[in-house]
Amino acid sequence: MTGRAWLRRLWPLAPVLGALVITSGLLLLFGVSPFEGFGALLQGAFGTEAKVLSVAAFWVPLTLAAAGLVVAFTAGLWNIGVEGQIVMGAVASSWLALRFDAPRPILLVAEILVAMAAGALWAGVVAIFKTRGGVHEIFGGLALNNIAIIFTNYLISGPWQPPEGGTFRGTVPFPEKALFPLLGVSRLSPLSIALTLGALAAVYFILRGTYWGLKLDALGRNPKSAFLLGVSSEREMILAMMFCGALAGLGGSVRVLSWFDSLRQSISGGIGFLALLVVMLALFRVVLVPFVAFFFSAVLSGSISLQLRTQLHSSLGGILTSVMVLLVLLFGDYRQLGIFGSRGGKALADE
């Protein structure tokens, strides 16, 4: 293999390297050696069994939302409203957990289903505003995100306020039987792992093997041609958004029923936005999603320990991941750069 071919093969690593260099620079700026910093980060993510379990527990809702987003992106949709869909899923589950009583299996299934329905509905609203009202899904999604968060705050400080008074922090803890069974003392539930793997398999199967998946793919790549080949754009767009919303809602359910044990003020905490980054770094492919999500989850959990160890703010992990995504987005396609000779990228050729 020639040197140039090697370079091309190794090119995907360049953004990773770039992101490491930039974050190392930031560490040095604050007087922390990069080795120490990244060492603390790794320690924080994988140092003890409890830490690994915590990474896995954070991975669950992130992966669920990202898996749903793959479907939305395939159809060419920017479902930035995924954050609100997670919140509404959490709210719906909390409603059952607080207000209803049933044998545990039935209650859990009902909580999961109602969360998925709520997420799907919240996403469907965005989709209908887009197809019928001409509101771009980014703005519709943002508005509904904020309304969902405000709605949560209203519930916490209003009807679902704990009896001892308005702490504005969350509801009372749900009864034990309403919660997911947990693994030891962790926040990880085998049930949610199973649900996540199921969701990944479902998305993979839908996109690889079904008419619907193919229609979405065609729609995302070329709406005009897809329409001429017989794809009904409006229907498929709404369905793709609702599917994504259902998985996000499920993620919300996991947040209240296993990560926390009650409905909290910022129940999603930006997981929806993170999931968008995950999908971009995974190059919009569902097979890469669980691994990228795990990487994100490890980095973010690790950087919380980093903060405890070095007093450095935990946002370092966020910087590392978002710089990486930015670099992949800008320079991931080496053909476009023209630095390897051969054919220049198509987009540059016609400039």
């Binding site: 705050n153 995504v325 476009q336």
Partner: protein
């Protein structure tokens, strides 16, 4: 409420709307050139932080504003380069920059949270501030507020009443025409994206150095998104945008007032008002609903109403331009 209280409420609405007005002006010129800079929320956080620290370290608020403007322009130039030169998806790049700006602001500003710093000094305009009612509402603030109002007027004048403004509009509406009339579309888009970003930077610093003093993590979170929505709400006009910013401030103030009247309804329910308003307006702008409503009006008002109600986005917004392909066929 008595008159004094009303005046105080209105005056605070004007004050609160100031940074939004500046950001809206910046994003309006960027979008008028055909580029969507989605990264406002991150840019504002980052520049609020940088502005605060620069002000603190130099002891000059004005250097703080300068630093904020530079960082805003720098951030926007990343977006400009990747969308104009590399032709990447504007939404994707803008979104990643949003998150990056937020994380960077939290990290870089970590040692400067919740400490006192420089602030813009209050300066009522002599004579004008003594006009009853109007004086305290508009003329008894500080220079940043006056700057925002001047900026709104200036931006409007620039877009609608100058030759460069005409070129700007052609770049966003029909770049082929601009090109045929001798406009360098790509250079113009770079310019307005960067200048727009710098204004957004100033808006960020207007929070940390003036309206919402100091720095803390997530200091201006969410306000960038609101500014983006107001740009659309304002129909890509700075004056309407400024009204939108005031209206947004007013709806927040209204929420507080209503809360006092109806204590049984939670304050957070009123907070949803601006967002509901936003999505309603976007629907009116984006669909034929407004056209249908216009048909109810008396015939002689219809065409005037149409011009007021129906605002269209710049036709080439978000679309890459290349001079060679535009001439074909």
């Amino acid at each position: 409420m008595n008159e004094v209280e009303w005046v105080r409420v209105l005056s605070s609405i004007v004050l609160q709307a100031t940074p939004l007005m500046i950001a809206v002006c910046g994003e309006t010129i960027t979008e008028r050139a055909g580029i969507v800079n989605l990264s406002l929320d991150g840019t504002m956080l980052l520049s609020a932080m940088i502005g605060f620290i620069a002000g603190l370290l130099t002891g000059s608020v004005w250097l703080g504003f300068l630093a904020a403007a530079l960082i805003g322009g720098l951030f926007a130039s990343i977006l400009a380069f990747s969308t104009i030169r590399l032709r990447k998806d504007q939404f994707a790049v803008g979104f990643v920059l949003t998150l990056l700006g937020e994380e960077l602001s939290a990290f870089l500003g970590q040692n400067y949270t919740r400490i006192p710093g420089e602030s813009v000094r209050h300066w009522g305009i002599p004579i004008l501030k003594d006009i009853p009612v109007i004086g305290p509402i508009f003329f008894d603030h500080d220079p940043v507020v006056y700057f925002a109002f001047v900026l709104v007027g200036l931006t409007w004048w620039w877009i609608f009443r100058t030759k460069p403004g005409l070129k700007l509009r052609s770049a966003g509406d029909r770049p082929e025409t601009g090109f045929a009339r001798g406009v360098n579309i790509q250079r113009l888009r770079y310019l307005y994206t960067i200048v727009g970003g710098a204004l957004v930077g100033i808006a960020g610093a207007a929070y940390s150095l003036d309206i919402k003093l100091g720095w803390s993590e997530g200091h201006t979170r969410g306000l960038g998104w609101i500014a983006l929505a107001i740009v659309i709400f304002g129909g890509w006009s700075p004056i309407r945008g400024a009204l939108g910013a005031l209206l947004f401030g007013a709806s927040k103030a209204l929420a507080t007032v209503l809360q006092r009247r109806f204590p049984e309804v939670s304050v957070v329910a009123f907070n949803a008002l601006p967002w509901v308003l936003m999505i309603t307006v976007l629907t009116l702008v984006g669909s034929d609903v407004s056209e249908r409503l216009i048909l109810f009006a008396p015939r002689r008002f219809q065409s005037r109403l149409r011009h007021i109600l129906r605002v269209r986005p710049p036709a080439a917004l978000g679309k890459p331009f290349s001079p060679s392909s535009s001439g074909e066929s």
